[in-house]
């Protein structure tokens, strides 16, 4: 895991990892599109310039774009596998960011239902760490239960 994600809490590291993933992906898509669109619309003579043996700049641009898309998919998936999902699992199990590799083996009970991008589930352990009775169940069944539990607790006191 990247050292930048080892500092601070797991939540902050997860936030940073997801922000990096989003900005990189958006930057790639919008950058490639903007470059191609600006050249095509405002520098039209450049595209028809022949580079060598009949190959034009346009064809090289198409090849570059195809490569950029393939590389973008690969890097996005690799970043999710290597950084986002381990951090999200760690947030669920409430382990510190600099956890030992052996502790990384801990998995939630139902990994098939785990959604690394679902913040309500990712922060389930936050309520547990506060020690609020019933918060685990409330968080696991959605935010409305949390509000209801809090209101019930206030009414009881």
């Amino acid at each position: 895991m990247r050292s930048a994600y080892r500092t601070g809490s797991s939540s902050e590291a997860l936030t940073a990892a997801r922000r990096v993933q989003l900005t990189r992906g958006l930057g790639l898509v919008l950058g490639v599109f903007a470059a191609y669109a600006v050249v095509s619309c405002f520098l039209p003579g450049l595209l028809t310039t022949e580079v060598f043996q009949g190959v034009r700049v346009l064809e090289l641009g198409v090849l570059t774009q195809v490569s950029a898309i393939v590389i973008g998919v690969y890097r996005h998936d690799r970043h999710a596998r290597r950084h986002v999902e381990p951090l999200a699992q760690r947030v669920v199990t409430r382990q510190p960011a600099a956890a030992e590799p052996a502790e990384e083996q801990a998995r939630p009970a139902d990994p098939a239902a785990f959604n690394a991008f679902d913040s309500a589930r990712a922060f389930r352990g936050a309520d547990e760490s506060r020690g609020t009775q019933g918060a685990h169940r409330a968080s696991a069944h959605g935010p409305r239960r949390t509000a209801r539990t809090a209101a019930t607790a206030r009414a009881a006191t």
Binding site: F33, A37, P44, P143, A147
Partner: protein, 591 residues
Amino acid sequence: MSSLTDAGALAMSVFLVFLAGCLFLSMLNSPDLRDAAEDFFAQRGSSTGTGGTGGSGTTGVAGALRQGLALTGDFVSAAGLLFLCGIVATGGHDGILIVAATALSPLLLKVLLAERLPAAREFGPGRSLGDILARRLPPGPARRTAGVATLVVSVPLLVAQLVPVGGITAAVMGLPGEHGAMAGIALTGILILACAAIGGARGSTLFQTLKAVGFLLLVPLLALLVLARFGWDHGAVVSRAAHGSGIGEAAYLASGRLFGTDLTGRLDTLSLALTVLLGAAFLPHLLTRLSTSRTAETARRSSSLAVIAVLLLCVTAGVVGHGVQALAGAQRSGGAGPHGGDDLLLLAAGLDGSDPARPGSSGTLLTFIACAAFLAALASASVLLLSGSAAVVLDMGRHRHAHPGKRNPGAPGARPRPLRARIALGAVGAVCIALAVFGREAGAQFWLTLSWTEAATVVLPALGCALLCRRFTLRGLRWCVYGGTLVALTLLALSPAVSGSPESVFPDAHWAVFPLHAPGLVSVPVSFLLAWTGTRLTPSPSPSASPSASASASRTPSSSSASPSATSREQGAQRPSASGDLLTGTTRGRD
């Protein structure tokens, strides 16, 4: 008996057998009438829904492969592929820019929203756009707004599917003239409607998968045939296409072929490319497909497959587009509709020597392409019909106040039955067939532009803000959906696509005061601005309101939507689930 030996009759017979096969497959995949409408709108086991059968085989590589193929089918519609081939044939390098935008759009969806759309188990799968928005905003009004957004995007896209495939059906079945075109559209529409109503989500997913596999085989095959015709030299194809265009190689390869070389024309090309990039990625049925994934990992894998598949299709569509111009020439391409919407027929005719304009002269390749086009239109129109029907039944019906995944299944009559869903599907389909029959002169490209513009203007800001912005409120959603729709429709009505040009809907009228054919360059920022303004102008919750009152207001879906204060309704984003939003980066760590 002698007519049966005729090549045209043989082609028609093959086409009819193909239609019967489609209907048979729909019947095989028909959902049980006793099931709830949720099973009609989403495939059982493909989701996180508690009502599912556990989703055996829907996770892992096999599940991602199936989901990815279906997603590829959702991305590339019949009209979209015909449009891409045609715009490359007639637009030259401008067409390549549009194809490049199309290839980038699934990657945009992947990086922006794909992994955020699958819901947690308590929310259930997103069977409509309203289900996705209702995770963050008050369900009733958010669903109603999402239903409107779905309909304004899906109906034009459905009309765009029916117009070209109706023409292809008329050509294969030998129905000449205007009445033949109308009959072809009506016949195709009724058959598609029947298949969608019978098959439901399972049938449409099967057709989408078949369509994606067919496209991934057919379009590269056509590209290879084109390249083989010209000695495997793409430069020779482009040169021949430039020669066939009749304007010379320099002019054909120059920019500005679509809308002119002046600044307005270049901005127009840029606006169309931006509209395609943003609109093709955020169509409601695509989002619904991804939101029914079991996990974020499945959504990520399937979207990766879809990105690569769409990329392959776009590259080969570019070759096919140049091949159309090279083989058919400008004179015949000019008769293929604005920007060559029917150019694939011309390519088939050029490759196998048949004539699509003459009844009874259908060749084998032409019939094969007609079957593929019908299957593609059937698959695309099925999911669009289901999307429209879900918008009517789930998002605008009487159950719209239910929270996602909490539809009170135990209450009598609480779960909408497939009959209601099928009636809604029939109503949406009838409207679309009527629009396609009477609006066929507008051409598929106009309806596609309208749909993509609406998707980029309405769905992208609504969903992007709802899922990525913590403070987004219901007022912001309403402003961007209703205001964005109004802005997009107004700009499009005042554009040269509707009046003032020979290829417009009303060529004899002239009220075009807005210079861009596709207004996405203006309407998308305006819609984002409306969303931001509506959110900023939402009144803050009064400090005098007790926390218990606000808690009880958000306790149940029915109470929160039936009798809330106006402030609590507008403050839809104040639900606790948004408090831990990781995406904005504003949440402090809780460790």
